[in-house]
Amino acid sequence: MLPEASPPADLLGLGSKLRDIILARYRESKAERYSIVPEGFLAVVAAVIARYGADFSESEKLKLVASLRVEELVLARACSAGNNAAWDDFMAHYRPALYQSARFVTRDDDAARELADGLYAELWGLPNRDGRRISKFDYYMGRGSLQGWLRTVLSQQHIDRCRSLKKDVSLDEQIEAGVPFAAKPDAPLPIADHGLTEAVAATFAELGAEDRFLLASYYLDQQTLAAIGRQLGVHESTVSRKLEKLTSALQKQIRKRLQAAGMDARQCDELLQELDVRDLNLDVAGNLQQERSVESF
């Protein structure tokens, strides 16, 4: 979906302090290089604030404006507007990185070329129904780096493409693979409950977002500690420590709840021995089947 057209800054109710900071950032952005006037820049930033910080407090809006990558934002807007100098800069600084990123995402030169060319065409702009050229650059809002954004878009497009190709399997291939004759998967073995479901549900409900993210990334997605650390911006040993702490806390909490429900210590031990953390995680892995089909942004 295209970002909404930006209303004039004064209509957005930008405070004078916010306006001053935006104008200060205008000077940092070198927007005049691409013939973007302060009012135009103000409108661009106002659109970003409207998109992400509509319910933000004044101080949060200030932080948001301060964190914007204004130089890259004006480059993207200027490219979208067809500014030649901006395109020269993009070609010089970002195009090689675009193809390199595609290579790392796809791990295949041909696929990388195809993916990067496709995105490049979208960045240049494809005409919509009205014949107006719509550039993918319009979706860039300067929250992260332009190169990082390009990489994320490439990753997203690559995943979408892989999923679509996975669906397009011919009947012959399915027969060859034995799909029609495959046995139905076994029904999961019944597990003695003894109030375990409630205990686990209550314990999981108390977990914070980061804890759930860690559990899901590590036990569901089978990601490495290093990969999780990269995503969270922490060292892998920190991730390891947190996970260790988290699983031990989970065990304690579940045991506590089971004991509170009337189970004695020995029964708890037996139950948790049967359903130790690995079993628990296997269950988590089997049951955290989440939404996987995602529309493109």
């Binding site: 933000f56 949060e60 964190s67 390199q100 790392f104 979706y139 860039y140 809002m141 300067g142 929250r143 992260g144 990082g148 954004w149 990489r151 994320t152 878009v153 490439l154 990753s155 997203q156 995943i159 479901t197 409630e198 549900a201 999981f204 977002a209 980061e210 993210f213 559990l215 899901a216 990334s217 590590y218 569901l220 997605d221 990601q223 490495t224 500690l225 990969a227 990269r230 995503q231 911006g233 892998e236 991730v239 390891s240 420590r241 996970l243 260790e244 699983t247 953390v277 690995r278 995680n281 269950d283 988590v284 089997g286 049951n287 089947q289 989440q290 939404e291 996987r292 995602v294 942004f297």
Partner: protein, 422 residues
Amino acid sequence: MRRALAQSQPVGDHPDADLLTAFSEGSLIERERETVLGHLASCAACREILSLSAQSVAEQQAELVPALAAASAIAAATASAPSRASTPPAPRRSRLWLPWATAASCAVIVCSLVLLHVKRSENATIATRQQKQIAAATGQALDKSSPQPSLASTQPPPAIEERPLRKKALVGAASQPVTVPASPFAGANADSAMRMQQAMSARAGSSPMHAAAQSPQASSSTNGDILTAKAMPAPQVALSAPPPQQQAVNQLATGSANKPAAVNQTVAVQAATINAQSVAVTPEPDLRPELSNASVAAFSAQLKVGAAAGALAKAQPQWRINAQGHLQRKFGGGPWQPAPLIEPARMHVVSVFAGEVWVGGEDARLYRSRDNGDTWQPVPLPAKNGSADTIAHIRFATPQRITVEASDGTSWTTTDGGATWN
């Protein structure tokens, strides 16, 4: 538990690429971060995009910096293999190399210290020997030139400091009669010292200041280079020369100009003065000690010793091998003269150390002279690997331990000053 976990649905809208990028780059504000994290915890699709993007960043960085690549490979290996095996991750397993690395580091440090100690003791031995030679020579000079008693003869020889501390040198102005500092290249091996000196020679040419600053380490000049080699080190006064002392230097310069030479050579008083001045360490004013008359007199005597030793150094010829491969020498500011070698041969390298001049050339010819090149003795090298190539390097570790290397890499070493070779 399954039912409970199955209820976890993606929270909120999917974050766009901008937000995911900002999340991975850590540029979201706290509230947004929590929202995105909450969504990611329950949305496998967004986690997949984020993971792929972050992975490609890591790989790109690893490709750019090979060291990072190695580090990330180790990290990936330690992170994925052992911790995936069991539920509780075991980060400590990845640190098993730490004790080994620590032990290896300790071993390297101990070896370095031992080598340094050995090197220092060798240098100290050389410097002590040379100091004795200088003291002997300068003692004679002073006897002839001045009735004033020499501090060098009345006081015990000063300790040789390989790396004289600046403060120590300043404070010791009165107590250290003549300090023959170790080479500025002390601590480096003879080879590297020689190379550094060659570089210095090449830059300074035959400047007297350069000559004064020559170290007692061996120096050599190679064929075709107009380099100089001083046979003896110029003694250096590792003290500052405050104004009264400077006067003493000047007095000494003018006074000793009329005196006969100490070792049958012309005493270059001016050069000696320059020696004394050029090697003086300029002190900080607040650290400069106040000198009594006695200490000034003592220092004056020291300078005489220094000047005489400088004259001794000045008496030594400079050496070079010209483009035709002929060995030449010159005394002071005189012209270059061919050195009388026994047989005409094309020379390649000349090296001077502890009063001996060694010269090597084609067909593995090697000569040495103990009288500044007046007479030469051939040094026969044993046949080795059938090598009869040009002598390329003559390296002195000590006056007794000398290594000669041919241009084809063959090397000979003596530990008895050239009597026998290995």
